[in-house]
C-alpha cells in the first residue's frame, strides 16, 4: 500500500486533523507518520491517483485544517511514497531543513493576489492618455466603425498600449503590497492575469494586508484585484 503525503509538521503540532477524510473515493482517513522531531500527515494512496477535483480539494482541505492549528509545510499535490517507512527515511534525512522551514513559517500564512484590468476602464485610460489613438478611434467611429484594416491598425496599437499598462500596473500592485508582507514570490505562470503574486504574511498582520489591498483597489479602480487566503504557505516551502 503506497502512502500519500499532504504535509510535514513538528511532532508537537498537537492539532493535526487525524481521521479527517483525505484523498480517494471513499476518502482515505488521514493519519500521521512520526520520525524524530517531525510528523508527516499522510493517508493510504488510492490505486490510481489522478489530479481530479475531489482529490485536489481533499489535499487543500487537509492542509488548511492542519495549518489552522500550527505551522505545516504543504506538499505539492500528488507526492506518493512507496510506504510509511520511506516517508520516515525522508523525514530523517531532511530533518534539519524541515525544522528550519517550519520555524520560519510559524504563524504565517500565504495570500495570493491576482490582478486583471477591467477592459472598459483600461481602454478608456489608454484612449484618454493618447491623443493619437483617440483620433484614430474617432475616425473609425465616424466612418461607421472603419474598414477591416482600420480596425486592425487601431486594435494593434490599443493592444500594445494595454500591454504597456499591464506592465506598469503589475509593478504598481507589487510595490503597493510588498511592504505589507514579509516575503513575496511570483505566482506560477498562468494566463489571464497582469499580476499573480503570493505574499507571506504573519497571521496577526492579515487584516493590515487586506486593508492595503483595499487601498490599491481604491487608488486604481481600473484594476480588478482578487485576494485568496489565508492559504497554506505553498509558495514558501523552499
Amino acid at each position: 500500500m503506497t502512502t500519500y503525503v499532504y504535509g510535514i509538521a513538528r511532532r508537537g503540532h498537537g492539532r493535526l486533523p487525524e481521521q479527517m477524510g483525505g484523498i480517494g473515493d471513499p476518502p482515505r482517513p488521514v493519519r500521521t507518520v512520526e520520525q524524530g522531531e517531525l510528523v508527516a500527515l499522510v493517508s493510504d494512496a488510492p490505486e490510481e491517483l489522478k489530479p481530479k477535483r475531489r482529490d485536489l480539494l481533499a489535499h487543500q482541505n487537509v492542509l488548511a485544517e492542519a495549518g489552522a492549528g500550527g505551522p505545516v509545510l504543504p506538499m505539492r499535490f500528488g507526492g506518493v511514497s512507496t510506504d510509511d517507512e520511506a516517508v520516515r527515511a525522508v523525514l530523517a534525512e531532511h530533518e534539519e531543513r524541515y525544522l528550519e522551514r517550519l520555524q520560519a513559517l510559524d504563524g504565517k500564512v500565504e495570500y495570493n493576489v491576482k490582478a486583471t484590468h477591467d477592459e472598459e476602464a483600461v481602454l478608456h485610460q489608454v484612449l484618454a492618455d493618447n491623443a493619437e489613438l483617440r483620433a484614430l478611434s474617432e475616425a473609425n467611429r465616424k466612418s461607421g466603425g472603419g474598414t477591416y484594416e482600420d480596425k486592425l491598425r487601431l486594435g494593434e496599437r490599443i493592444a500594445a498600449a494595454v500591454q504597456q499598462r499591464e506592465r506598469t500596473d503589475a509593478a504598481l500592485v507589487e510595490q503597493a503590497l510588498r511592504d505589507a508582507a514579509e516575503e513575496q514570490c511570483p505566482g506560477p505562470q498562468s494566463t489571464g492575469w497582469l499580476a499573480n503574486i503570493s505574499f507571506l504574511v504573519p497571521r496577526e498582520s492579515a487584516d493590515e494586508f487586506i486593508a492595503t489591498v483595499d487601498r490599491v483597489r481604491a487608488q486604481a479602480p481600473h484594476l480588478v484585484v482578487q485576494v485568496h487566503g489565508p492559504l497554506p504557505p505553498y509558495s514558501f516551502t523552499g
Binding site: 486533523p17 489522478k50 489530479p51 481530479k52 477535483r53 475531489r54 485536489l56 487543500q60 482541505n61 492542509l63 488548511a64 485544517e65 492542519a66 509545510l73 504543504p74 506538499m75 505539492r76 499535490f77 500528488g78 507526492g79 506518493v80 511514497s81 520511506a86 525522508v90 500565504e110 486583471t116 484590468h117 477591467d118 481602454l123 478608456h124 485610460q125 474617432e138 473609425n140 482600420d150 480596425k151 486592425l152 486594435g155 494593434e156 490599443i158 493592444a159 505566482g187 506560477p188 505562470q189 494566463t191 489571464g192 497582469l194 503570493s198 487586506i210 479602480p221 481600473h222 484594476l223 480588478v224 484585484v225 482578487q226 485576494v227 485568496h228 487566503g229 489565508p230 505553498y234 516551502t237
Partner: protein, 139 residues
C-alpha cells in the same frame, strides 16, 4: 474581502479550489524520492498570453470596444470613475469583468470550473472565453 472559511472550519480557509489550483499543483514541497502523479491534461492549459494578445481577434475586439466607448467624459477626466466602471469599485470586484488581454485565453481555473460538474472527469482544455470568477464573502 475574498476569504471564505474552510469547509471544515478553522482559520485556514481558502477562496475555493479553482482560485488556488495552480498553487496546489505548482507550489509546495516536492520530495525527490516520491513518485509524482502525472498532471497531463492540466499543464497544457498554460497558454502563453502573448500568443493571445498578438492576435487579429484581440485587435478587432479592442477596435470594436473603443468604438462603443463613451469618451464624452473627455480625455482629462480621471479614468475609472464610478459611473464608468460601476461594479468594479464596489468593494473590490464583482460582476463580469474581464482582463482586457485574456479574452481568448483559457485560465486553469476556467477549465477547472467545467470539470467541477463532473468529479470523475479529468480537466480538459476547451476553447472558450475566460470569465473571472470571484467571491465576496465575509469571514
Amino acid at each position: 474581502m475574498t476569504v471564505v472559511p474552510a469547509q471544515q472550519g478553522g482559520s485556514g480557509g481558502t477562496s475555493g479550489l479553482y482560485d488556488v489550483l495552480e498553487l496546489v499543483l505548482d507550489r509546495g514541497l516536492v520530495i525527490d524520492a516520491f513518485v509524482r502523479v502525472s498532471l497531463v491534461g492540466i499543464e497544457i492549459l498554460k497558454i502563453d498570453i502573448r500568443v493571445v494578445v498578438a492576435s487579429v481577434d484581440t485587435y478587432l475586439r479592442f477596435a470594436e470596444a473603443c468604438n462603443r466607448l463613451d469618451l464624452e467624459a473627455g480625455p482629462h477626466r480621471n479614468p475609472g470613475l464610478p459611473d464608468l466602471v460601476g461594479d468594479v469599485t464596489e468593494s473590490g470586484a464583482r460582476g463580469k469583468t474581464k482582463g482586457a488581454l485574456s479574452g481568448a485565453a483559457q485560465t486553469i481555473s476556467d477549465a477547472f470550473k467545467e470539470a467541477r460538474d463532473d468529479g470523475e472527469r479529468e480537466t480538459k482544455p476547451r476553447a472558450r472565453r475566460t470569465t473571472s470568477r470571484r467571491k465576496e464573502e465575509q469571514e
